[in-house]
Amino acid sequence: MLYREAGQFKTSYQADMQIFPIRQDRIGMAVLLLLAFVAIPLLASDYWFQAILIPALIFSLAAIGLNILTGYAGQLSLGAAGFMAVGAFATYNFMLRIDGIPFLVAMVLGGICAALVGILFGLPSLRIKGFYLAVATLAAQFFILWVLVKFPWFSNYSSSGVITAQQVTILGWSVDTPVEKYLLTLAVVALLALAAKNLARTHTGRAWMAVRDMDVAAEVIGIPLMKTKLQAFAISSFYCGVAGALYAYTYLGTVEPEAFNLDLSFKILFMIIIGGVGTVLGSFFGAIFITLLPIFLNQIFHALFGNALPPALASNVELMIFGALIIFFLIVEPHGLARLWQIGKEKLRLWPFPH
């Protein structure tokens, strides 16, 4: 009933092309943003910021990054965590070696470094495809971590190879408390998510999708393959790099290269598969699902059983339920949670009088 678009007419091209063509969606988005930027900072506790919201946002950003490459441009990649590591370590080095550099500039430069590395490892994509490309990006994952551990310069000769985030100050605003870190993360993620959404709707995004769907056909209709693929690698790695910088600066503070291991790459890949390949919304859904569901299960188990269950059994049962839920959602909707959401919305448009 509420979700009706009757009476909403598009009278200009601009109205036709906007991201949210239905008024209710626009209102919903505005309410969501208002909630995220105003209500949550007023209401949530430190636990929510530091354990739930900040990591969920950062992983969402990394998932958007991988989704650009794998979901939109169709290049399977297992190197997302490696590019996050580049972003984190590059940002750290810019902050360390250039006196007085603003954090946001360092972060963007870190992202650009990740993009350059991404281009380098994207080169094989011109010759190989599919699973073979996944293996080539796997090389990126291992090579990057190896370099970061091998050459102590990257961690400023720290004996254990870890980097420690410096104080973040933006135009005199020092980001110290969890709320401030949350707001900074949220602002960066919101901005980049909007950019990604728009990018996907432009010429660039359509070129990616053409390459994804059939690269020979795309080439025939005049899409330069090399440029398009490398562009996807660069932009994807940029997103991952910024996510890595946020991971180090607003989430953990002290990061070892090992934190960006293959497990994390797989996790980000699972996020986009569960959330929905080739959607920005799905990246958020997937990140929330993969990072928060295990925590939620753990909390539920503690609330339900307390110490009654042997802890080893409880931990294993949680894992099993988590795995079962992944399989359940993949069977119910192989296109991911974002597709479920879309189906729900379409049903809602007709409700209560489906014809």
């Binding site: 000769y157 090992e258 909390q299």
Partner: protein, 444 residues
Amino acid sequence: MRADSKWKPTAVVAAAVAGLVGGLGQAVAADQYQYLGLPSYRVGAYAAGGSGVFGGWIDYMQLINERDGGVNGVKLVWEECETEYNNARGVECYERFKAKGNTFFSALSTGITYSVLERVAQDKIPLVSIGYGRSDAADGRVFPWVFPLVTHYWSQASAMINFIGQKLGGMDKLQGKKIALLYHDSAYGKEPHEVLDRLAKKWGFTVEKIAVAHPGNEQQSQWLQIRQSRPDFVILWGWGVMNPTALSTAKRTGYPIDKIIGVWWAGAEEDVVPVGDAAKGYIAAGFNAAGEDFPVIQEIKKHVYAKGKGNLDPKRVGSVYYNRGVVHGIIYVEAVRLAQEHFKKKGQPVTGEELRWALEHIKFDPARLKALGAEGFLPEMQTSCMDHEGAGVVKFQQWDGKKWQMITDWIVPDRVLVRQLVEESAAKYAAEKGITPRDCSKES
């Protein structure tokens, strides 16, 4: 004067009331609790270590509750949170415990330790890493809230060289010797490089560093390299599946097993049992003893397992990881006790700040260790504002095919050199973060 005498009875009544309240307070104290959040891991690749250590720790706390009725009457309560050895999950557990008033955090994971390192000072929760974590945190001036207790990686590396020297019959015999370091290619495996380089320069031996990529279940080429270069000793700085693989590959390539010396994360039953007979004679470091022949372990069996309240399969009691967990428990309980006594809060729970003070004043002398039933179980130690490590000594044990046998007493590292490295590294951290080190002479 009149006023005084007039007040006297009142004072007596007040004293009586105070006594009564005090008495009541003590009666109430029986229901006081000291809460502890345990970020354990019982699933995943490292579950063997996680369940052993956290199981031993819990059993020790259970012992204190069952036998002594808690610490000065304060019952120990704990809650577990599964981390899966994953940093993000560990941070979530940390925050969850913090919201419940946690006062002590020890994750048995270097990654999680680093992940919360920046938070503990603000949250006033002491961060304890026993036998892992950040070595330079031993400089308590720069890291007031971080405690790499008992001994850390750099002390271990140095103690290993001293042990080799002892084996050869004198440190001067190290001259011209060749020692290979077979290490897990990660930040963990890089820990000993600098210490070993400096020691090599000092004693005139050479170090050949050979990396093994994670997870390390294929080491043919590394051991071929070892066979070619014929080092006098191999230091095995491994973790997980890398350890048994190294031992079986050594056997296949014909390298003498008793010339391989493992670190304390390569010296548990789980590392040698899969190898079978090939592991016989292998030597590994340890900062806690294995076995059941200690009063403290016997007490746990008597008061905890006999009552069916044990946390693990009784067969694991006395294993290396289990006993390491008991060491965690002993240190935690001792800190709670010290904090209660120093801050005159006997019978009351203590805060993180009070525990931090206590961790800086832990003293295990022979008498205290004997009272705890842990003579020879863990080293004598004494912490201070300057020194957050406390002991730094290492024992070496040899696998006889059935169990670990202690073959040395506590071996002392090159304290001057290690301390110098700690201070250099801590000073660099302080400079990077803009920390002004504490003045330890002003601390009580």
